[in-house]
Symmetry: C2
Subunit: 351 residues, 2 copies
């Protein structure tokens, strides 16, 4: 091995400054009383040695804190970031976390490497975004490691704090609004309900086998009002998927006068599909969605949708993690959506 430049250590700095290691440490961390003159000497020595501050690894071993909060998603990163809701929530999380001096570690629960980063990455807390039960093995590792766990719209689990949304009652409220407008034949365009993200008409069997809390709850809300509503499952929360699913739904059920989409993107796809077959929204087909996403560049329609406080949800999750880390008691949070009436719903044509 050639010359060893090897990063200088705090001990080296202390030696050069002629103080003990403990004093040098105090000079850097600012904790504890240090004479100004001493601190200057230490900092000068550090500069001379090109010392860049204490090694985070050593520090984190000693203090038990790494300054990292992990966010675990089940999707591929690409898919997750295509979803404006995930991004918005992440933004809330990042903001809150950053403010508190933590950094954000992005983990996916990929099938390939079952507990890849989850097991080996240093983290002080973990936020699980919309995770299904089959994340169980990974999550177990974390609770063994006594990492505080916060689940956002995740299946309940012992020892996990939760952030929830009124998916069912919110969607029910939306459905009731459609019924009040006079709709009776309504179809539902669903978010994926399994990890394979398989498309197609929803059958009772598929529903029973599903692990996706959010999709199930939103469907339940819709069916509270329209018990027989047919549903088509999309392969993701994407405009194109909403387009495809709606087309399939309208092919199979031409009598539908309204579509309930489980997300705004699906709803936008529904509008595209409708227009493509010559239907005018909302006169020929009403579209109700969910999320209240702010989507760049789509200004023509204002979706009627259930607005959820997504950024706040992210913030809340982050704050719960921070509270848990601070040793404060943590109580679950639950949020409510609000029906925002746009230009995509109207009474059905009186035929």
């Amino acid at each position: 091995m050639p010359a060893e430049p090897s990063r200088p250590t705090l001990a080296a700095v202390a030696a050069r400054a002629g103080v003990s290691q403990s004093t040098a440490s105090l000079a850097f961390s600012g904790a504890g009383p240090v004479a100004e003159e001493t601190r200057d000497r230490v900092l000068a020595a550090a500069r001379e040695l090109d010392y860049g501050g204490p090694d985070p690894r050593a520090r984190s071993l000693r203090t038990g804190r790494s300054g990292i909060i992990a966010v675990v998603m089940e999707d591929r990163i690409l898919d997750a970031f295509r979803d404006p809701m995930a991004v918005a929530m992440l933004d809330g999380i990042a903001d809150e976390i950053g403010q508190a001096g933590y950094s954000l570690l992005l983990l996916t629960d990929s099938d390939d490497r079952p507990v890849g980063g989850l097991r080996d990455a240093p983290m002080d807390a973990a936020l699980l975004l919309g995770c299904s039960t089959d994340l169980e093995p990974s999550v177990r590792v974390l609770s063994q490691r006594q990492v505080p766990l916060i689940g956002v719209e995740a299946a309940p689990r012992e020892g996990m704090h939760r952030v929830d949304l009124d998916n069912r009652s919110g969607m029910r409220r939306g459905a009731e609004y459609l019924r009040e407008l006079g709709h009776e034949r309504v179809g539902v365009v669903m978010l994926p309900i399994d990890r394979a993200r398989s498309r197609g008409a929803l059958t009772p069997e598929r529903l029973a086998a599903s692990e996706a809390e959010t999709a199930r709850e939103r469907l339940a809300g819709a069916r509270d009002v329209f018990p027989d509503a047919p549903a088509e499952v999309g392969g993701g929360s994407l405009i194109d998927e909403g387009h495809r699913a709606t087309a399939a739904l309208l092919d199979a059920h031409p009598e539908l006068t309204a579509i309930i989409a489980q997300s705004d993107l699906l709803g936008l796809g529904a509008i595209q599909a409708a227009e493509e077959r010559g239907l005018v929204v909302p006169e020929d087909l009403s579209v109700l969605a969910f999320d209240g996403a702010r989507i760049d560049g789509l200004s023509i329609h204002r979706l009627t949708t259930l607005v959820q406080p997504i950024v706040e949800k992210g913030r809340a999750a982050a704050r719960m993690a921070l509270a848990a880390l601070a040793g404060e008691p943590v109580s679950d949070a639950s949020f409510e959506s609000e029906l925002r009436i746009g230009t995509t719903t109207a009474p059905p044509r009186t035929s």
Copy 2:
């Protein structure tokens, strides 16, 4: 303090299994020879004590590796993820990094806390995405820490490996194509050129003060062909920004027959702005963009654009980091864009 459950340590497991700590370590890591029977005993003891595997903090102190690769962006997370290019590149990075068993730490170079996570987060390497020179202080900390640095379209810096794109010659090729079609009056819609993301007409002073490599290079390419092309700066790579900037440009220069947008999103905004004022694309106004982004839900126009291998860029950056970590020699990478002719360019109307 109440009862201390305190996570069991490897030493405890070793003791319970009746082996030495070293043996227990080997049993877990798989390195070194361990009799099968012994390993089973260790794993059993671990199970009984509910031991979740070695502490990443301690491991990383000892091994000098944390298994984390950081990605540094200058935007807020929200802004960065609104940009499909950033997301796509991140996807390439995440994929490559994950494959190698590393996790991804997301850092932003926020003004508030100058070296926030950058200084304190454990990381084995850092990827800087499109960062300007004023990232200097943060970056210096990292090179002090001897963390391998990879810059993507970043200003050159000593000790930093680079991934580059032919922004200038690519855009020049696009501009030449416009000229061949017969265009002479062309305007440029630009990406932000300063951290404040201030909008408005581009002046020579603002250009001189700018730090944004990518925007400058792409402009230079356009002006290689149309030296006097007026330019308007957008407040981000967003459809709405392209819309606004194009409107401003057309107000000030009604004679323009083509718009060169520095990103696809800006290009889409340009189309919107054109259509809004009754111009037909491409007959009345041609639009040339840059990126070749795959954008969900926009199927009407096929942008004429310079396609860049964005995912590959991400992969390359990640691979360079991994190579550096493996002690292999690293050589800079540079990529080329390709002009893809769509339906948004045509000869100008012969007036």
